[in-house]
């Protein structure tokens, strides 16, 4: 049995250890933020150029060998509603009526974050951020928990609910397997007649995006969306109107989504290692006298 003095000493030692672990842990995590691979590729999307021809959707369908669409890709009736990505379409073009200026179109697909929330939320490590910048996933290990769908700030991963035997997450993989891995641009970029999308090294595209804004400040709003949002994305956007008006959240946090829970998650190992010792100590101390008292009660009972 420990006496009160030993117990207090133990508590002090524990708290000092806990504090030092906490400090070390915090530093380690702070240094762990990831700016992206230096030679990662990206795409600069210039919304002022898009004419809504939907060629990118057709090319994506063809390249990724997706099922037949419900309507032909030259059918403009799809613009009547705002669509999102589905297991059958990794990219969709939406139309935005912008008040003072005319209509804008925006192609939606995975933005391939530098520090993807889907990746950090996945407990089976199905996602990988490749050095080329693509966020790919291994459908073989996916257990279908759909955490990534909740985690994604852009609402991109889709789930093949219609498959009863093997439902899977489906999303744009930057044409990694067939193109980007070999240094070729994704299918949507290649087919685009208006060169809405410029494929290149992400660091070059950031420069290029700012240069375009600088050269024509009347044409663009002064914002390269995706340069800083959620820790930076491989796909970045230039627009002639506020990005809220084309369905992008203009107040997206600048830190990666994982930063929201890093501090908490950093505490978990500490809690797991220290709390058992601490509470065992408290338990022992608090039950020391109770045990004697209990025995006493028992004896009393015997006497009666």
């Amino acid at each position: 049995m420990i006496d009160r003095r030993d117990f207090l000493k133990g508590c002090l030692a524990c708290s000092v250890t806990a504090a030092s672990v906490g400090v070390v842990g915090k530093n380690a995590f702070a240094a762990g933020s990831f700016e992206g691979y230096p030679d990662a590729m990206g795409v600069l999307v210039d919304l002022t150029r898009c004419v809504g021809c939907r060629s990118c959707e057709a090319a994506c369908n063809n390249e990724q060998k997706l099922p037949d669409p419900d309507l032909p890709f030259d059918d403009k009736s799809v613009f009547l509603e705002q669509r999102r990505t589905t297991p059958k379409a990794y990219t969709v073009v939406n139309k935005y009526e912008v008040a003072d200026k005319d209509t804008l179109f925006r192609k939606i697909q995975c933005n391939h974050c530098n520090e993807p929330a889907c990746l950090t939320s996945c407990f089976v490590n199905a996602y990988t951020k490749t050095k080329e910048g693509a966020v790919i996933y291994n459908s073989k290990v996916c257990v279908g928990c759909r955490n990534c769908m909740i985690a994604c700030p852009f609402n991109i991963p889709a789930y093949s609910y219609s498959s009863p035997t093997n439902p899977l997450i489906k999303k744009c993989i930057f044409c990694y397997d067939t193109r980007v891995k070999y240094g070729r641009p994704p299918a949507c970029v290649e087919i685009c007649p208006q060169q809405v999308m410029t494929f290149g090294r992400r660091s070059d595209l950031i420069e290029m995006g700012h240069e375009r804004i600088k050269n024509d400040p009347a044409k663009y709003v002064n914002k390269l969306y995706g340069e800083k949002e959620v820790g930076g994305t491989s796909w970045m956007y230039l627009s002639s109107v506020d990005l809220d008006k084309v369905g992008l959240d203009n107040h997206m946090q600048k830190e990666p989504i994982i930063s929201n829970v890093k501090d908490f998650l950093g505490m978990v190992p500490m809690v797991l290692s220290i709390w058992p010792a601490l509470f065992t100590g408290i338990h022992l101390l608090s039950t020391k006298n109770k045990g004697e008292h209990g025995d006493h009660d028992h004896k009393e009972g015997d006497q009666q």
Binding site: S55, A59, D68, P69, P72, F73, D75, C192, P193, M208
Partner: protein, 171 residues
């Protein structure tokens, strides 16, 4: 007889000069250009160069400074104020048909000086941005198939025409 012959020659020459001057001062400028170097899903375009020259007059609208026209873009003026006519004038002479291959990206990045031409669009982009941009302003045709007909492989990837999905309930 000789006078008649001379007159005839003069009239013919005059007519020829008139016809030719209609199309930007004569030699070497094609009246019609078949744009087919990058066709894949659409047929080539038989571009009526002469009509565009007549309508626009300003070669620089499409050819920048390369025809010797004065450029108005302040960024271009900084270097190309007195560049004069260039040896290469055609679109495909400068705009790469495949602008995003590793080699093309490297070439673009390594050029000297590494400034404005860093962001040079590819050939397809150059055509469409020029054509569609201007056609929008001047009420020209802007639909895809207004200029070039989609071919069979185009129909196939667009799931249109003969390849329209059976589920599509089109009236």
């Amino acid at each position: 007889m000789r006078v008649v012959k001379q007159k005839l020659i003069m009239v013919l020459t005059g007519t020829l000069v008139l016809l030719v001057s209609n199309v930007c001062f004569g030699t070497g400028i094609p009246d019609r250009i078949t744009i087919d170097s990058i066709q894949k899903y659409y047929d080539g375009v038989s571009f009526n160069h002469a009509a565009h020259i007549n309508n626009l007059k300003d070669c620089g609208l499409c050819h920048h400074n390369t025809t010797g026209a004065q450029v108005s873009d302040p960024n271009c003026v900084r270097c190309h104020k007195n560049s004069g006519a260039q040896a290469v004038v055609s679109c495909k002479g400068c705009h790469a048909a495949e602008p995003f291959t590793s080699e093309a990206l490297k070439r673009q990045r390594d050029q000297h000086p590494p400034i404005f031409h860093m962001d040079k669009v590819g050939l397809k982009g150059a055509y469409h941005l020029s054509c569609v941009g201007c056609h929008k302003k001047m009420d020209g045709p802007t639909g895809c198939q207004d200029c070039h007909k989609r071919n069979d492989s185009g129909d196939r990837i667009f799931h249109s025409g003969a390849y329209t999905p059976k589920t599509a309930d089109k009236p």
